[in-house]
């Protein structure tokens, strides 16, 4: 029992870190699904590209193991580049791979998304490297740089992930709840055709949604690189599935649901890998997914749809 309490704070921190990343990815999944009813399987790879863009900035700003910029500024710059880059990339994906298929059978955009996922992964493999890239743990927020709080070690890198996620979530909430664009997004997600007839520029709203969702994923990519020191061109797949699970967990299409689902999934995974078995960490995510769905088909915060005859 002593062990239990000794390990608890650390695994909570781990869970929150992991959960933040899942939440950021899940938001993009959920927003796009809310509007287009499209399972954007390329989303995980957009997150991966975000991680590589951030790494690119990091490489350019460091010469011989030394940074040319202060750490705070560098991280900010990495985040901005990754978010804008991932956002623009997703605009291209939307324009080329999804928009021509908006009125095609349901499976067409799904297959197209798989195609995009293949393209992005292998483009990165060809143009960058097939091997994992390492930040080198000493350069950017090293693991043992931490503050102690009530005898618990809080590494800066983990705190950074949680803090950035919180800030992004606040900005997103403001954007969706309080701005004209947010209102348009909510309107389109309820009824695209009606919104279009009421004068909402649907294409612009969809592009904005893709951009916002992808930039959150891009940020998640950078944060993962900083917190776990290593990135790889195949990292998008499993992360995408997890983000997707998180989105479903919270009720797909719901923004607070996606955030909650992400955090929950992260916490459950972290706790399970400490108290049960680290090999079954990934398994838990999917078992959870199945159980939640069978018990509550519309997710934790989702609303059940009404059947029309």
């Amino acid at each position: 029992m002593a062990d239990f309490f000794a390990l608890l704070p650390q695994s909570l921190i781990n869970g929150l870190t992991l959960g933040s990343v899942y939440a950021l990815i899940a938001l993009g999944y959920s927003m796009v699904y809310g509007i287009l009813k499209l399972l954007n399987f390329a989303h995980g790879d957009i997150y991966m590209v975000g991680a590589y863009l951030g790494y690119g900035v990091f490489v350019m700003a460091s010469v011989d193991e030394k940074l040319l910029l202060p750490v705070g500024l560098l991280i900010f710059l990495m985040l901005v580049v990754a978010m804008v880059g991932a956002g623009l990339l997703s605009l291209a994906v939307e324009r080329f791979a999804y928009r021509p298929l908006r009125y095609a059978p349901r499976i067409a955009p799904l297959i197209s998304a798989l195609g995009v996922s293949f393209i992005l992964q292998n483009l990165v493999q060809i143009t960058v490297s097939p091997r994992p890239l390492n930040y080198g743990s000493n350069q950017l927020l090293p693991a043992n740089n931490s503050i102690e709080f009530l005898n618990v070690k809080l590494p800066y890198a983990r705190l950074l992930v949680i803090a950035v996620t919180l800030i992004l979530l606040l900005i997103l909430t403001y954007l969706v709840q309080r701005t004209r664009l947010g209102r348009a997004i909510r309107a389109v997600s309820i009824d695209m055709d009606a919104a279009a007839m009421m004068g909402v520029d649907v294409n612009r709203v969809i592009m904005a949604t893709f951009f916002i969702g992808a930039s959150l994923a891009g940020a998640a990519g950078v944060l993962v690189g900083i917190a776990f020191y290593s990135i790889r061109h195949t990292m998008g797949f499993l992360a995408g599935l997890k983000g997707f699970t998180a989105a479903v967990l919270g009720g797909i299409g719901s923004i607070p649901g996606a955030a909650l689902g992400g955090l929950l999934l992260g916490l459950i995974e972290a706790l399970a890998s400490v108290y049960w078995s680290i090999t079954f960490k990934d398994l838990i995510a999917f078992v959870l997914l199945i159980v939640i769905f069978l018990l509550r088909p519309s997710g934790l915060l989702g609303k059940a749809a009404i059947k029309k005859v």
Partner: protein, 504 residues
């Protein structure tokens, strides 16, 4: 051309029957389709039988030493391996087609049934399970096949019963979850503590999988050579094909397609939709299990990743989507293309021929006429040489690149490959893909798209010579990805599928 024929080719606008046949006329827009439809019924049968006979003769033809020598091969094993893999994938694609194409259930856990059957085969026909006898269990194949197909169908039925009250995307998500659970278990169930035993039990041997599975054996005859399996698999594929064809053209198949089109209407018109969906699920699972047993016995091993992972699932979906969802011959053709294409792309020289061939074909399709095609090609060649002259005048440094074939050196003499060619190649790879997609989107703007086409041609050639051709593994998947996107844009119904109509 007879009088009657010319008449039937003239448009009869406003004429009920003529307007009604628009779909069948559209289907004949392609020369190959027209030729096929022009054949009389017995002619189509004859061509089919001829094709089948030719296919069955492949092992004999390719065993010819003269032929092998001319391709620098010592035996035809490689060809048989590829064909056997095609046969397995064709069975799997047909099974998936039952679930997705006929009943319209988006099942993303389908490979789990294939994998489960593989592992069950390992338990029942190898040295792996030593609980009952130190030499393992070695049941005869007939018994194993019946046991496993029945067992996995039952599992499919039960999983279906659990998840069928979900519909559409949610069903997809849950089945994806099932598939992932299977793969992860196969990877990690190596140390499971069972009650009543003090030592951990290894169920799967993790990522390495289980080796040394028995070959198939029937009544004392065992299949040991690749060509044995080739004929056995061909026969089995034929049987499965006929079975699924017959079921599809019966009240069950009609009910499935009715459910796919309008589930509520089907239920109200007296179709037990729940039971029929479960039947589709179980039948699909059974076919996957059958293919799984045959495959495990032939390869003599089971390996969780990539064979039983999402990668195979995506491959299968690509196959049935390419062939046309809901089309039985489409599933087989899709499996054929997607098993052979990657093998062909392995050889750089051959891949180059295919790449440039496809690029020119794409350019022709895009141009719409030989005139425009010729003009664009001429402009493209001219652009290359003008650019080259310009850069030579400016004394830009050139890279020295080895070319692997005559075609490559020809193309390279047209390009100006500057230093640093790797970086340029990377950039132009991305630019080339964007240009292709931009061409597709803005194909209606004549001048603009002409410029894009010329630039795209150059960028693609440059990218191929400097990067893509040198990274065959990644390029293979890149091309598959790109063709999936393009296929969805141009022909979402696939090669042989029918365009679907949905009420919005």
């Amino acid at each position: 051309m007879s009088q009657e024929n010319t008449e039937s080719n003239n448009p009869k606008i406003g004429h009920d029957e003529w307007v009604a046949q628009v779909a069948s006329r559209q289907a004949q827009a392609y020369p190959l389709m027209r030729w096929w439809h022009a054949l009389p019924g017995y002619g189509q049968w004859l061509m089919g039988l001829l094709g089948l006979a030719l296919f069955l003769l492949v092992p004999i033809i390719t065993a010819n030493p003269l032929l092998l020598a001319s391709f620098n091969l010592s035996n035809n094993n490689f060809i048989l391996l590829t064909l056997n893999r095609f046969l397995i994938f064709a069975m799997l694609a047909i099974g998936l087609n039952v679930v997705v194409g006929y009943a319209g259930l988006l099942d993303l856990g389908y490979v789990a049934f294939y994998g489960l059957a593989g592992y069950f085969y390992a338990y029942l026909a190898s040295n792996f399970v030593t609980a009952f006898s130190p030499n393992g269990i070695h049941l005869p194949s007939l018994v194993v096949i019946i046991l496993i197909v029945a067992g996995v169908s039952l599992i499919g039925y039960l999983l279906g019963a659990l998840s069928l009250r979900l519909s559409g995307d949610y069903l997809a998500i849950v089945t994806l979850g099932f598939g992932q659970v299977f793969t992860l278990l196969a990877l990690s169930a190596t140390r499971i503590y069972l009650p009543g035993r003090d030592r951990a039990v290894d169920f799967t041997r993790g990522p390495n999988g289980i080796n040394g599975l028995d070959p198939l054996n029937f009544f004392g005859l065992s299949l040991n050579e690749n060509w044995h399996y080739f004929y056995f698999f061909s026969l089995m594929l034929l049987l499965i094909y006929i079975m699924v064809y017959r079921i599809n053209h019966s009240r069950i198949g009609r009910a499935w397609r009715a459910i796919r089109d309008d589930e509520l209407a089907a239920e109200v018109m007296g179709t037990p939709t729940g039971r029929l969906k479960l039947l589709a699920f179980a039948l699909g699972a059974g076919i996957a299990a059958f293919a799984g047993v045959l495959d495990a016995a032939w390869q003599s091993n089971v390996v969780p990743v990539p064979r039983y992972s999402v990668f195979t699932l995506i491959n299968l979906y690509a196959m049935i989507v390419l062939g046309g969802i809901g089309s039985l011959p489409g599933a087989v053709i899709g499996a054929f293309i997607f098993t052979l294409l990657p093998e062909i792309l392995r050889s750089v020289a051959l891949a180059s021929v295919i790449f440039y061939g496809l690029s020119l074909w794409g350019l022709y399709i895009f141009s719409g006429s030989w005139r425009r095609f010729g003009r664009l090609l001429a402009f493209g060649i001219l652009f290359g040489f003008v650019l080259k002259g310009l850069l030579l005048l400016l004394n830009v440094a050139r890279a020295d690149l080895a070319s692997s074939s005559a075609l490559n050196s020809l193309i390279q003499s047209w390009l100006f490959i500057a230093e640093p060619y790797k970086v340029l190649g990377n950039v132009l790879t991305i630019v080339g893909i964007l240009l292709v997609l931009a061409l597709v989107i803005w194909r209606k703007h004549q001048t603009f798209s002409d410029i894009l086409a010329v630039l795209g041609l150059y960028a693609l050639a440059f990218a191929w010579e400097t990067r893509l051709g040198l990274e065959p593994a990644a390029t293979r998947i890149l091309i598959v990805g790109l063709s999936l996107v393009l296929l969805m844009i141009f022909r979402p119904q696939g090669l042989l599928g029918k365009a679907e109509v949905r009420v919005v």
